[in-house]
Amino acid sequence: MRKMNYCKKCVYPFATVNLNVDDDGVCSACKSSESFSELDPGFWEHREKKFKKLISRYLKNNESNYDCLIPVSGGKDSFYQTHLMAKEYGLKPLLMTYHGNNFLPEGDFNRELMRHSFDADHIVWGPSVEVLKKLNRLTFKMMGDMNWQNHCGIATSPIQIAVKFKIPLIIWGETNWDISGMYDPDDFVEFSARVRHEHDLRGYEWYDMIKHEGLREKDMLWAKYPSDEDILDVGVRGLYIGNFFQWDPNRQTKLVQEKYGWKAAEKPFERTYRTMSNLDDRYENGIHDLMKFVKFGYGRASDHASKDIRTGYMTREEGIEMVKKYDAVVSSDLYYWLEYVGMSEDEFWNIADTFRDPRIWWIENNEWYKNNIWGGSSSYGPVHLSEKQIEDFNKRQQNLHK
Amino acid sequence: MNNKSVCLLDYGSGNVKSVYNILEFLGYNVKISNSREDIKNSTHIILPGVGAFGASMKKIMDTIPFDVLENEVLDKGKPFLGICVGMQVLADKGLEFGEHKGFGWIPGIVDKIDTKGLSTLHIGWNDINVRRDTPLLKGLNDNKDFYFVHSYVFDVQDKNCIVAQTEYGSKFTSILSKDNILGIQFHPEKSQKAGQLIFKNFMENL
């Protein structure tokens, strides 16, 4: 019925968030990654030199303050970034964690381990759990994402702290647009409020939240992004290490495990084959990602497989097997979450189904159908919508194909 | 703010919407209208404008009840703001593409700028030299740059009416004022902060 095209090289569907596919059928993420991998060692030497030159100005003028601020979750990336800055570059960083209350036990352990492993101070900012529960429920209903508070906190509180402590240099890790190929290595993109607002926060801000669930401005102080004036006063800049150092999560994980005793997840995740991602948030690989599948028809396994295909750790056939096995799994953290926020499973699916994208899904025999990357189409469960909602869905679908 | 209202005249000139947007953004009661009622009932009147003098005059005379307008502004003293061509048509006559009659509310003639060799189209941000105090510029500090786009200027006869001048090749009047009548050669609706201040002052101080 509905054609869902897939990239020729990785396993991304054309519908993937922010993806662009040129006429040759290869997606922008693959192209971006290709340009990153066609690089010889000299390339990375040159970029490291550029990095050194960039930060030298800040370090030169800094006698007694923290050399930089590193937003960390305690994950493998955080450890690697801090290892680079504190150990290899000998800087005194201020580590800063936004605590969204979704840490797995291994994630807690790793987070605590940081200032034992590195000569760095560590601030943890965790909003009230009552507020977090409200936001979990609210943003799930608003935009089909219960983890909005996490994305917002991570992209906001470190900048606030940097402004407050007058630290101009923020060191981020992976350039996260290589997941869709939004930018190229030579663009040397830095952290920007536009990307934060549009992609991390989906266009919503703290002031959109206080209209509901009794939330007040003083509940959302951690979510307020500093003004341009405040940022320019301190001269805060967010650099991405991934622009200057070759990023290899598998190699980096090995390093931090061996050197610092970093712990991977004890239980494998249900929706992906990787075990070293997202220990700071049990839902990122769980129901938050399930919502991605419900909306767009692809999940974390597609992300991870595509990344591993591009870096040569997996073939496309193996990637397709991963997608088949994992993308549609309804993970057990769903029940953990339902209890956490006090919602029933029926209500969950009623809300979730309102976010199904009519470009991807269609309804047949009151079940959800979509195309598969291995060919053909299949059912992915019953439809939890009222008759009127089904009618609206079908109408939207018709309008798309006008 | 609640009892003030703007009648924004529309004779088919391009920038009505922009003026409407900025007034709405500032929280004012604004209506795009040429009706006799709205001209009579509003507290302020704005005449925007983009284009040539002659063509604009014709459209104005065809679509706006001029007798009512003149009555409200000249006789009743209602605050009036003319922008760009909306300022130029206040003159006795304009010399763009032939000779055309204007409102005649402010003596003077509209003619080509003497750009002394520069491009005949004055387009871009330029600053104003304030010659006389006016409530229109209250609170304007450092940033006196405004957005201009025109090739003709208003040579105002009575120098007391000249509030501000701008230089482009030669000096010309960028803001004029006579009692309740104000004219601005630049586009405050395109001049960001400074432009917003002008509108606010027009609504609050006149």
Partner: protein, 268 residues
């Protein structure tokens, strides 16, 4: 004194705001309205919006976000003009006088004509007569072929018989208000403007010239002002790489005493 202008260019492709490299590679940045809000907050002097879509399907494929997924280019421009109070030039796919009228009516102040200006010079004259020269920007894309700059039509695809020097004089005579000159070779490379190309045009006409194509650093803006008589400098990609980019670019130029507006921030 009249200032030189710094103008961000936003490229719209099928509803997305995109980066362009060499007129052939496009990368989706996101929703155009969000970016425009930021560029406005940094007090850009003007904005140029170019529609480089392949078809008429505008769709960011996201319906779960805090702002609408607008379905048409004109809708997007209308949204844009509600949050910006500065001049907007809109270009792309303009074929008739009615196309121009539609864009002006949703909030554009000027329009940019490219292919039509090459194929039918009279169109420029008619447009200038109906809407005024100040509304008409003619944009030209040029590439070096056999050691000579040549104008290309159709989004850089079709080589024409014109050199930029020749065509600029023609469009000036036919009533264009300004010329936007873009280098296809330099597009997205970040190696600076094609100074020679800009000079070819700017030295040849008396109307304002806007330089575009190739900016990688603030210094490139300074080079254009120092080495050419361009009235304005434009860039697309670079303004999306850093926060407060336009402010920082202006500050750079202002601190080095270039004839630009003082940098400023606006709360929207």
């Amino acid at each position: 004194m009249k200032k030189n202008r710094l103008i961000p260019v936003l490229l719209l492709k099928d509803g997305w705001l995109v980066q362009s490299k060499g007129f052939s590679k496009y990368q989706n940045l996101g929703n155009p309205v969000t970016a425009v809000k930021r560029l406005s907050e940094w007090a850009s002097d003007e904005l140029i919006y170019l529609d480089i879509s392949s078809g008429d399907n505008y769709d960011t494929r996201r319906d779960d976000q805090g702002y609408e997924n607008r379905g048409s280019f004109l809708d997007i421009i209308e949204d844009v003009s509600k949050v910006t109070f500065m001049p907007i030039t809109v270009g792309g796919k303009i074929r008739t006088l009615s196309d121009i009228e539609k864009r002006l009516s949703v909030g554009a102040d000027k329009v940019s004509i490219n292919t039509m200006a090459i194929n039918d010079h009279n169109f420029i004259q008619e447009a200038a007569k109906q809407f005024g020269s100040q509304c008409i920007v003619v944009s030209m894309d040029a590439k070096i072929v056999d050691n000579e700059h040549r104008v290309f039509a159709n989004g850089g695809k079709d080589m024409t018989k014109f050199t930029p020097k020749e065509l600029s004089k023609i469009v000036e005579d036919y009533g264009a208000g300004e010329i936007l000159i873009n280098s296809i070779d330099r597009d997205g490379k970040g190696n600076g403007y094609d100074i020679e190309l800009i000079n070819q045009v700017a030295d040849n006409v008396n109307i304002p010239v806007i330089a575009c194509g190739g900016v990688g650093d603030w210094e490139d803006f300074a080079d254009a002002f120092e080495e050419t008589s361009a009235d304005a400098v434009a860039a697309a990609n670079i303004f999306h790489y850093r926060d407060q980019s336009v402010f920082l670019a202006k500050k750079f130029l202002y601190d080095f005493k270039f004839n630009v507006r003082k940098p400023d921030l606006i709360k929207l």
